[in-house]
Symmetry: C3
Subunit: 272 residues, 3 copies
């Protein structure tokens, strides 16, 4: 059953982003820097990308949220992420992590786990394979394979969220967000999103903007994904393929009306 | 009062860029590399991005102008910028600097100042906060705050330009360009430019193309901003939001007709 | 005379890419990362960008092809390319090299030659100047100048291909592909491709996807260029300039119908 309170919150959080224009500090991958910066601007937030070890602590101190993304990681960039993240933690600035490709190489899996171990991260956003790779092998009873559906992973995700002490946002055909108690689902979105690079990374960045204005990390994650997915639905209406879809997605994020949005976001909440 | 001689020069400089197709060497930030390269191509120039210390001197020697942009700086990249800049100076190749985020972190402010100190830079292009951060604290009498309008900063900019010995191009709702004597203003532009990432950085790159064909740096800066702003106005006519605006801006830069442009660029010049 | 067997192969190779969705590992330049990733997705392939020395061997082992591109090279990135390339060779994973800017600086020329020397590379794709810069000065009898037409370089390319032991794909108004015996030509394409940054780099990436499903490197190179060029022709029909062309190109790559394609690809083959 759709949760109308969450729908109200989605509209309210977007309104807050547009009003407060929070600075979002991204340490992210080269592939998506332009797209995520444009998406943050389209939402009403103010993006900055900065990765020099000499400035990340100062920069993150100016920010409303920190977005960490390991998509084109190196050891040096991970060090910088840790440095920025520690400063964020000290100042209670929320952090969202995108563990791109975790599970594909040991460097990615270890780096994602290291960030989660050393930092207090509010949300981890990834696809099912990425998020489930964060569980130690054998420590969770549910089977994990390459074809995870969001449905199959729900129970595992709840346990993993409890273990890691962070909200998990698993995106796919349907999105699943859990803090170990509540399980939220978002049914908005469009399949063309899977044909554009960085739509996941960009969801993470938009989540950062919502985290900057909403203290409940699970609500921020859920409502940002509903907003983003709904923008995708609207963009698909005017797109001729993945190229024009990416362009239309930015337009749709920008034009989203808070009132109309309340009627169309599709969120369910299961209080565990 | 609009300056028709400058309007003529704007058209002539664009004509020269298209005819000579100057190579523009960019050492710039990761966020805007694709967009600025595409904008330079759309203008008729030929972009190259190169930042390896082993090749920047050779590369810049082939170029008509050097564009330095500190948007995603590291200490290593600043060293490379100095190296390329020295070679550019030796060969009388003009340099334009974009001090992205100067004033936000000490690394950015110090790096921008270092580049200006160690190199002979023809134009610095930034927003008011960035440009005014280049003044030593207390060295200029006019107050500087976070909400600088171009109007408020005009007098300060003239003094700062004299002190730094470079043309300053401060972009905003209205652009102000000064070499410490002349004060030029450009009234072209569109508010959607503020909703697309890297429109400032891209203005700087296009300025590089004009510097490559026009020995008067203040004229090059002014006319390039008028061309760029006018392209923004035209792009806005066919855009549905920031995504489609960015695409339309490239189309408009490409299709700008030199004759029509003369009638629509809005430049004023105050000979100091 | 058009080669209908090659046209059939073009359609079949595209069908295979869409069916197998090969992972394409790119170690490429910052300017084009987003565009090439989107082009690979639009073709039906699955892109990954990874350049950390600690993970490239593991990543390339998962891939169907490796794309190396020196557009924003540094010495460190070249080392990583060698490391990934050796692993690719060991596992018989095909490699395509884009020697961006070879001939413009010594670093680029030497790096491209080093990669060709140390690795077994299946295809080198560049413009005429880049590819011909790979010949040692004086080692080839045909004159090489800045204005190479594909026609002028055909004979030189055949000799160079034999000498380097790799297929060469020289793109321009007409594309020429040779393995030292066969000489294939592709007449598809559109002049707007020259006004968008990274269309060459993206052709190389798409070639990687075809190499992942087609063991004959010369056929993979030829058919991918025909597919890509035909998508360019179709994109031009709905574009208003280079900005909208880039967007439309992604849409056209995505929508290409294998049957219609067979009628429109324009490939000739000269068995040497």
């Amino acid at each position: 059953m759709l949760n109308s309170k969450m729908a109200e919150r989605a509209a309210e959080n977007l309104r807050q982003v547009r009003e407060k224009r929070p600075l979002i500090h991204n340490i992210t991958n080269f592939v998506v820097m332009n797209f995520t910066a444009n998406a943050l601007l389209a939402c009403g937030a103010s993006p900055v990308m900065a990765h020099a070890p000499e400035e990340v602590e100062e920069m993150v101190s100016l920010a409303g949220a920190l977005v960490l993304n390991i998509g084109t990681l190196t050891l040096e960039w991970i060090e910088t992420m840790v440095k920025a993240g520690r400063q964020a933690n000290e100042r209670n600035i929320p952090i969202v992590l995108d563990p791109v490709g975790s599970g594909a190489t040991r460097l990615r899996t270890h780096s994602a786990k290291r960030l989660i171990d050393e930092l207090n991260i509010q949300v981890v956003r990834g696809n099912a394979s990425e998020v489930l790779s964060l569980a130690d092998a054998g420590s969770l009873t549910k089977g994990v394979d390459a074809q995870h559906s969001v449905e199959e992973v729900a129970e595992t995700a709840v346990l993993l969220s409890q273990k890691l002490g962070t909200t998990l946002a698993i995106t796919g055909k349907e999105d699943l967000i859990t803090d170990g108690k509540r399980v939220c689902r978002v049914m908005n979105g469009h399949e063309l999103m899977g044909h554009v690079t960085g739509t996941g990374c960009t969801a993470t960045a938009v989540m950062g903007a919502f985290l900057a204005v909403c203290a409940d990390a699970t609500e921020a994650a859920t409502t940002s994904l509903a907003y983003y997915g709904l923008a995708g639905e609207r963009a698909a209406g005017s797109a001729n393929g993945p190229g024009s879809f990416q362009v239309a997605l930015l337009d749709a994020l920008y034009h989203m009306d808070c009132d109309g949005m309340k009627e169309e976001v599709a969120i369910s909440v299961n209080e565990g």
